[in-house]
């Protein structure tokens, strides 16, 4: 009673400030129940004792508890929203299933909307100067160099770059390529970065 549950909820959420917890359905349901209860009791008392002003203090206390619950819940949701926003920048438009499970349905809806918005914004960037958009999520920090030197470790065949150039990846040939293009191949072990 009186906003104890909601404080518990916030404390739980605060324990992991960097990661997102599963959406706490159960607790939120309990808090909403508590709020309903408080509201109902207030209604009863307010209607029943129109004349008797001795109960007003009680009503007031209940009302502030109600409002506190509301504020805390909003804070909880807002905090999660901020975290979901960063998820979009970290994971891209498709969430891995284990992260997806942590979100509630409404939150996921919001995520998809945000994702679409962001994508259409990024597409619109630079259209006036002939680019078809810029992927803002690619380099969140300024890269040290746009190109890196890589050594080809295996015969991989042809690789088409974004600008249309085609290069042949053959064992023991060296290439100086845009960083973004080689990341996946480096992860696959076809290329090796030379530092």
């Amino acid at each position: 009673m009186f906003a104890e549950k909601v404080i518990e909820l916030l404390k739980e959420a605060e324990r992991n400030p960097d990661t997102i917890d599963p959406f706490n359905d159960e607790k939120i349901r309990q808090i909403l129940e508590e709020m309903h209860l408080l509201f109902k009791m207030n209604m009863n008392d307010a209607n029943a004792t129109n004349e008797n002003k001795s109960l007003w203090t009680t009503v007031q206390v209940r009302h502030s508890a109600l409002e506190r619950n509301k504020r805390c819940l909003l804070a909880y949701l807002y905090d999660r929203m901020k975290k979901i926003k960063t998820l979009r920048w970290e994971f891209g438009s498709v969430l891995p299933p284990d992260v997806r499970e942590l979100l509630s349905d409404e939150e996921y809806q919001w995520f998809s909307k945000y994702s679409t918005n962001l994508a259409s914004y990024m597409r619109s960037l630079g259209q006036d100067i002939g680019y078809s958009g810029i992927d803002l999520t690619e380099n969140l920090k300024p890269p040290k160099s746009l190109y890196i030197e890589v050594l080809c470790m295996a015969d991989h065949g042809k690789l088409e770059l974004e600008d249309g150039d085609v290069i042949t990846l053959k064992r023991n040939s060296r290439h100086f390529l845009p960083t973004a293009e080689c990341q996946t191949l480096i992860r696959q072990g076809v290329l090796k970065q030379i530092v």
Binding site: L146, I167, K170, N172, S173, R174, F176
Partner: protein, 536 residues
């Protein structure tokens, strides 16, 4: 076509384009490549680097990578062959050739823009355009006129044409008679780096190694070597001044140093025994050779025990006086001057590294007994790094020691076993297949070291041929001119070509150094016979 302005006509053209970099397997090329890579990295010129070993490899490398490529830079390859004819490129592909192999193919010289030679050597006597090429279409037009006059005019024209053809033939013969090396490509690349103000220590170091390689491998006459490094000396001296206050970073210095290979990572005795400059003069293949070496060490005042242990754990006093002791003792044994001005890389918290050790290390890596050439090439590039810790240099130094030991063993066994045969105008030796040393001299570079060693052990007045097995059926044949240390122009390139024609042997002239050929082992005797007949 030669490039006049290194910066505007070469480098600025490459800016912003994809470049295909084809690099030959030799020390100079690897150093040049290192300098160019540094420049390309700064300017975000994306490139593809493929090492090539011969003409056919050059062809496949070009065919595999020519998609969307408009600019090809060839380092130490392609200058001596007609590129347009061999590679059949598209019209708009431009080749920049930086090749120290000479003579340059005449078609490359007079190509109108497709093949651009980056550096013009003043030593080359390139025949004039009019003496070599002639419009044949004009010839076909029969002059109209009365019978006799027309006939006379035709005859006159034919005679002029014959005379011109003869003259062309002589000119071309004189021009292509010798194969030799020009200024190290790395010196040209260094010049470029300096022009665009990016001449740092890594570039200077790479150029120093290239210059040292031309000295160590006798690619150029000593005087020319000195002239080549002129700009290098100046840049190093200039850098010294700027860096005088801080020794926190690495730098290259020019110092008088003992001209022994790898002695800093070896022992003094081993370095003396395996040094291509001193070893032949000690005549180690003879019974007296070992005694002479001990005598030399005694004259230097080095106890055997000290001389045989690793240089770095030798007595400090002895280490300090090595140079003066060797200089004092050398004349007594009729040894050549054992000291030279050497480029040394000084690094903080690491032992100094002389450039000519790295030359041998690179040789050891690209012609490693087990490693493939391509892998060795990558290691060789890494061994030129001035900073950071890499295993490549250590790997190379170890390989070089093993190879030098093998070369010494091989030459000593050949000479003491009287297997250096005399065949008319030249002498030759053949490395038998199956001997433990054969593995080490599969490549032209180490075989060249062995051949020059044998040549100078015999006085060096006769040309010398060396042959070693490459695989089961083929063998390598390499020629060393007489007095190679003074006049390294090599006549064997043209001679091999003619002998091949006469003997009908299926000789592959595919290596870029014309004085090295591969041929089937079965046809070797008949080829040598033809060569004897030709040169006699």
């Amino acid at each position: 076509m030669f490039i006049e302005d290194l910066r505007n006509d070469f480098y600025n053209v490459l800016l912003g384009n994809r470049v295909l970099l084809l690099v030959h397997y030799d020390v100079d090329a690897i150093c040049t490549c290192k300098i160019l890579q540094g420049l390309f990295k700064c300017d975000n010129i994306s490139y593809t680097l493929v090492p090539v070993g011969g003409v056919s490899e050059l062809k496949t490398a070009y065919e595999e990578n020519n998609e969307e490529i408009k600019f090809v830079v060839l380092v130490n390859c392609g200058g001596t062959i007609d590129l347009v004819d061999i590679l059949q490129p598209e019209e708009d592909v431009v080749f920049f050739v930086l090749d120290s192999h000479k003579p340059t193919d005449i078609c490359n010289v007079y190509s109108d823009g497709q093949v651009r030679l980056v550096y013009k050597d003043t030593e080359e006597n390139i025949p004039n355009f009019d003496d070599i090429f002639r419009d044949d279409d004009e010839e076909e037009e029969e002059p109209e006129g009365s019978g006799l006059e027309a006939l006379e005019a035709t005859v006159e024209k034919r005679r002029a044409r014959r005379a011109w053809e003869e003259r062309r033939h002589t000119l071309m013969f004189n021009y292509t008679q010798f194969s030799y090396y020009g200024k190290p490509s790395a010196c040209v690349a260094l010049n470029l780096a300096w022009l665009i103000s990016r001449c740092g220590w890594p570039a200077l170091w790479a150029a120093s190694v290239a210059a040292a390689s031309h000295v160590a491998l006798h690619a150029r006459a000593p005087a020319q070597c000195l002239l080549d490094t002129d700009t290098l000396h100046r840049h190093i001296a200039g850098g010294q001044h700027a860096d005088a206050t801080k020794i926190t970073s690495c730098r290259v210095v020019l110092e008088k140093d003992v001209w022994l290979p790898l002695y800093r990572s070896w022992s003094v005795e081993a370095a003396l025994r395996h040094s291509p400059a001193i070893g032949p003069h000690l005549k180690l293949h003879t019974l007296a050779g070992a005694a002479r070496l001990r005598q030399l060490l005694a004259d230097m005042g080095f106890p055997l025990q000290q001389a045989r242990q690793a240089y770095r754990s030798m007595d400090v006093e002895l280490r300090r006086c090595l140079l003066s002791a060797l200089e004092a003792a050398a004349p007594k044994h009729k040894l050549p001057a054992p000291s030279r001005a050497a480029f040394i890389l000084q690094r903080p918290h690491a032992p100094p590294r002389p450039a000519h050790d790295i030359v041998y290390a690179i040789l050891g890596l690209i012609e490693h007994e087990n490693m493939s050439k391509g892998e060795g090439f990558q290691h060789a590039l890494a061994s030129l790094d001035t900073e950071g810790v890499s295993d490549s240099a250590r790997l190379g130094l170890e390989a070089a020691q093993r190879s030098l030991e093998a070369v010494t063993r091989l030459v000593n066994a050949t000479l003491s076993g009287r297997r250096l045969h005399l065949a008319g105008p030249f002498s030759y030796f053949i490395v038998q297949e199956g001997t433990p040393e054969a593995r080490f001299v599969r490549g032209p570079l180490w075989l060249g070291v062995a051949a020059r060693w044998a040549s100078s052990a015999c006085g060096g007045t006769r040309p010398l041929l060396a042959s070693a097995p490459v695989d089961d059926n083929n063998c390598l044949l390499l020629g060393v001119p007489p007095r190679f240390d003074q006049e390294p122009r090599n006549l064997f390139g043209a001679a091999f070509e003619q002998a091949a024609r006469k003997s009908g042997a299926s000789v592959s002239l595919e290596l870029l150094d014309a004085s090295v050929v591969t041929l089937p082992t079965a046809q070797r005797p008949q080829f040598l016979d033809a060569l004897t007949a030709l040169l006699a």
